[in-house]
């Protein structure tokens, strides 16, 4: 680690020399600055890194700011501004900062900036989407010296490093007396990230320039321009016309056509976003379960694990991902994506088995099936309305008279979280399966933040206990083992029905290379040019 630190310092020095040379070149006008233009699929709403916690915001903020702990393209934790961390005891974590890290204004990062940044989310009381859930476990913090920070939690808490990968470190000096507006305007937007902010035009475009004193790998690009192109068609045509060099979220319908275009290339990879079905398992009469004539059924078949298993068997996941999703997903067995912390590879994808499904339904006392309405959003996930319709088609084949209702997300989530549905589709992206399990299948307890998205209110004390053990393990190996056991237990019970993992895609001008990231983020500093 020490070697690494001196290495970067050396690198930083080199960079400065290089910058000087480059600067001279530019003055003479003999070289063209390397510029990268990126078409974003969703709006970046703010430059304040502690104001509004959304995926598109975080993806952008990673260009300007760093966190103590970083996440690699596969979702594993790597060192960020902290070169190492260790649990000193069960409730105390120590983070050792990189030395010589420079902010965009030239000042050096110190433990004071870190403490300030960790405390700031809680002070932004008008935040519409707060970052406090990541900082809340910390009950005390202390700067041991300029480069060492100690954080205490009330109870043993293993995921703290992961939580801290979501907290951006800002310059205390630049931010202390300012607000969100000053970030958007520029003066407060002082980070340690690979790029510094040049201009932010909300909803339209963002301009960045390379941070020449960046501590990490030097990005290839002198300037980066983000353009917000939320609609599919213009984003694609901007790429084809050469207005941008790279776009995220290539429209599904155009993937095939794009792959044959010699001027562009497409990168796809599996992401963390996993879709699954919640099933009502707490009511004796479920609101959208009927008999074959459409009258409410006086018992809830979804409480029977055989019926849940039958539904799972009735879903032809292979056909679903190939047809409805046009190859932009892979069939799922877990509720976290492969490679994510706690993914259990021992669980197999449920095979398509309509005969088996019918048999199970008969065993459970529904040889003729029953009526059921499936709910899903229509503007959230890849081809979501089609996925819901296709699953309904498939359920009809085993005798379950399935109907469909899809709604805009704004209405859907509200009703789904109030558990108003019988069978409903949810997509989830997380970097740790114990987190996912706590939210999705943990016994609902709003005060503790358990089961907050457990729409079907599945409840199993054994699963809860395993998840709890995982969260309390400060040893990563131990923690992952507990998480895998919990996932197996819950899915053997068909607590939810995993459907598929979404793929993300990026379209690039020929001559560029981007490997993609499991968190779907588009990082300009990870884009390379190739010969």
């Amino acid at each position: 680690m020490v070697q690494l630190a001196s290495g970067t310092q050396f690198g930083a020095h080199w960079v400065r020399v290089l910058a000087l040379v480059l600067g001279l070149w530019t003055l003479v006008g003999t070289t063209q600055a390397a510029a990268l233009k990126i078409g974003l699929a969703a709006e970046v709403t703010t430059v304040d890194p502690h104001f509004f916690n959304t995926g598109p915001n975080n993806a952008f903020l990673h260009h300007v700011f760093d966190s103590l702990v970083d996440v690699d393209a596969d979702g594993r934790l790597i060192s960020g501004l902290a070169e190492s961390w260790v649990a000193v005891d069960a409730t105390t974590w120590e983070f050792r900062l990189r030395k010589g890290v420079k902010f965009h204004d030239g000042s050096e990062l110190s433990a004071e900036d870190v403490l300030f940044s960790l405390a700031r989310p809680a002070q932004l009381t008008n935040s519409p989407g707060s970052y406090t859930s990541y900082t809340k476990p910390i009950v005390a913090s202390q700067a041991v010296d300029r480069y060492t920070v100690r954080l205490r939690t009330a109870t043993p808490y293993g995921p703290l490093p992961l939580d801290l990968s979501s907290i951006f470190i800002v310059s205390k000096k630049a931010v202390e007396k300012t607000g969100t507006e000053q970030f958007n305007a520029g003066p407060a937007a002082i980070g340690t990230g690979p790029f510094r902010l040049v201009a932010f035009h909300k909803g339209e475009r963002i301009e960045l320039a390379r941070h020449e004193a960046y501590w990490g790998v030097r990005p290839e690009w002198d300037t980066v321009h983000f353009r917000v192109l939320a609609s599919d068609a213009p984003r694609l045509s901007a790429l084809l016309a050469g207005d941008v060099d790279l776009i995220e979220a290539v429209p599904t319908a155009d993937l095939a056509r794009l792959k044959t275009n010699p001027r562009v290339s497409v990168t796809t990879r599996t992401t963390w976003r996993t879709l699954f079905w919640h099933l009502d398992q707490f009511r004796d009469r479920s609101p959208y379960v009927t008999d074959l004539a459409g009258k409410p059924l006086d018992r809830n078949p979804l409480k029977d694990v055989r019926v849940r298993r039958a539904i799972s068997k009735a879903i032809n996941r292979q056909a679903l991902v190939e047809r409805s999703l046009e190859g932009r997903a892979v069939a799922a067995s877990n509720i976290n994506a492969p490679g994510i912390f706690g993914y259990n590879s021992e669980i197999a994808v449920e095979a398509y088995d309509p005969a088996g499904a019918k048999k199970l339904l008969a065993e459970a006392g529904y040889p003729e099936g029953f009526g059921l309405t499936l709910h899903g959003p229509n503007n959230r996930y890849i081809n979501d309305a089609q996925v819901v319709q296709t699953v309904a088609q498939l359920l009809n084949r085993v005798g379950i008279r399935a109907k469909v209702e899809t709604l805009p997300l704004s209405v859907y989530f509200g009703k789904a979280r109030a558990s108003e549905y019988s069978m409903a589709l949810l997509g989830w992206g997380s970097l740790a399966s114990d987190f996912t399990l706590r939210s999705i299948v943990g016994t609902p307890d709003a005060d503790r933040g358990w089961g907050t998205w457990n729409w079907g209110r599945y409840s199993n004390p054994a699963v809860d206990a395993l998840v709890q053990s995982a969260l309390e393990s400060v040893s990563p190996e131990q923690r992952e083992d507990f998480a895998r056991q919990a996932a197996k237990l819950a899915l053997d019970d068909v607590a939810v029905i995993p459907s598929h993992h979404q793929l993300a895609s990026w379209g690039l001008r020929k001559g560029l290379k981007y490997d993609g990231r499991v968190d779907e983020f588009t990082y300009a500093h990870e884009v390379r040019s190739v010969k």
Partner: protein, 325 residues
């Protein structure tokens, strides 16, 4: 005249208050934006905190009261999603929408008046009939479908024009405009044409019937009998007769152009305020929806007032005490 204006302004305030009440109640009933805004891991405590931060923990009438008192000071609230003043967000998008609507209106008037005149002067010729048949088709074309077909033909098949977006803009007096560059026009022309079609049909019909009516007036017949050239008859008497209805339509329909740009903007990904409205509705961004609607109502009222004043200038007979519509 001052009394007339004053009375109209009082009416306007009434309408705005009623509108705000209705819309507030309406948007309030849709649902809570909290589920969309708050972090998935949030606990009850976090939810309560966020609700308090946005003022959502208060009963609806308290929220409305707060809104109204602040609105009087020109503050229509902060967007839940963006965290900045809703009115600012909308005004930032206003130039794009206005530019689109103005260009569409110019297309509609620029083509509609000459075509309508010609059809009115030559009602029984093939040309006149074709123009009229065309205007009926224009009335019947579903705007959004025409938008798709324009994209299919000019962008996908022929590849002549971009499929959407606004392209580069040039600043003029601080306003970003597309009309000042060729590239800007290439982006503007399809959506503007799309938006103009319906109004074009309307103006053709209006101009035609106005022309025909004028030609039957005694003074026009007399002027013609006296041997005045057709050009002069049309230029002086006919044009004067059709000016009032055309001005009315341009005024009245301008508001609806702005409203219908919601559709065109969403097809062509035009970064205007219609698109903002749609996004805000799906995200339940209440303050933005509210501010948008109030702004539209205000725009309507102002336009109506202006139309009435222009009316009065064009035709002294139009009563100033009447309702003026």
């Amino acid at each position: 005249m001052p009394f007339f204006i004053l009375r109209r302004c009082l009416q306007a305030v009434n309408v705005l208050v009623v509108m705000s009440l209705l819309v507030f109640a309406g948007v309030y009933a849709i649902g809570s934006p909290l589920d969309l805004l708050v972090d998935p891991q949030a606990t009850t405590e976090d939810l309560a905190r966020a609700a308090a931060a946005l003022g959502l923990d208060q009963p609806v009438w308290v929220q409305y009261g707060r809104f109204l008192s602040r609105a009087l000071g020109g503050d229509l609230g902060d967007s839940f999603i963006h965290g900045s003043p809703a009115i600012g967000l909308i005004l930032a998008r206003l130039p794009a929408t206005l530019e689109l609507a103005v260009v569409a209106m110019l297309i509609a008037v620029g083509l509609g008046v000459p075509l309508g005149l010609w059809a009115g002067l030559h009602p029984d010729t093939v040309g006149g009939r074709t123009i009229m048949a065309g205007s009926i088709v224009g009335f019947s074309l579903p705007t959004f479908w025409v938008g798709l077909m324009l994209i299919m033909v000019f962008s996908v098949q022929l590849g002549w024009l971009p499929a959407g977006g606004r392209g580069p803009t040039t600043e003029l007096f601080g306003l970003p405009l597309s009309v000042l560059s060729v590239e800007g026009w290439r982006h503007l022309i399809l959506p503007a044409t799309n938006l103009a079609l319906f109004k074009l049909a309307l103006i053709i019909r209006l101009t035609r019937s106005g022309t025909r009516e004028a030609l039957q007036q005694d003074y026009v017949r007399f002027a013609r009998a006296k041997g005045l050239s057709t050009g002069r008859v049309v230029g002086v008497h006919v044009l004067k007769n059709i000016l009032i209805p055309v001005v009315t339509v341009v005024g009245m329909e301008f508001g609806s152009l702005v409203a219908f740009s919601v559709v065109t903007e969403s097809i062509f990904a035009w970064p205007g305020m219609g698109k903002l409205l749609l996004d805000s509705i799906t995200q339940l961004d209440r303050p933005v929806v509210l501010a948008y609607l109030l702004l539209i109502v205000l725009l309507y009222i102002v336009i109506n007032l202006v139309v009435d004043l222009v009316y009065a200038l064009l035709d002294p007979r139009v009563g100033r005490g009447g309702s003026g519509r």
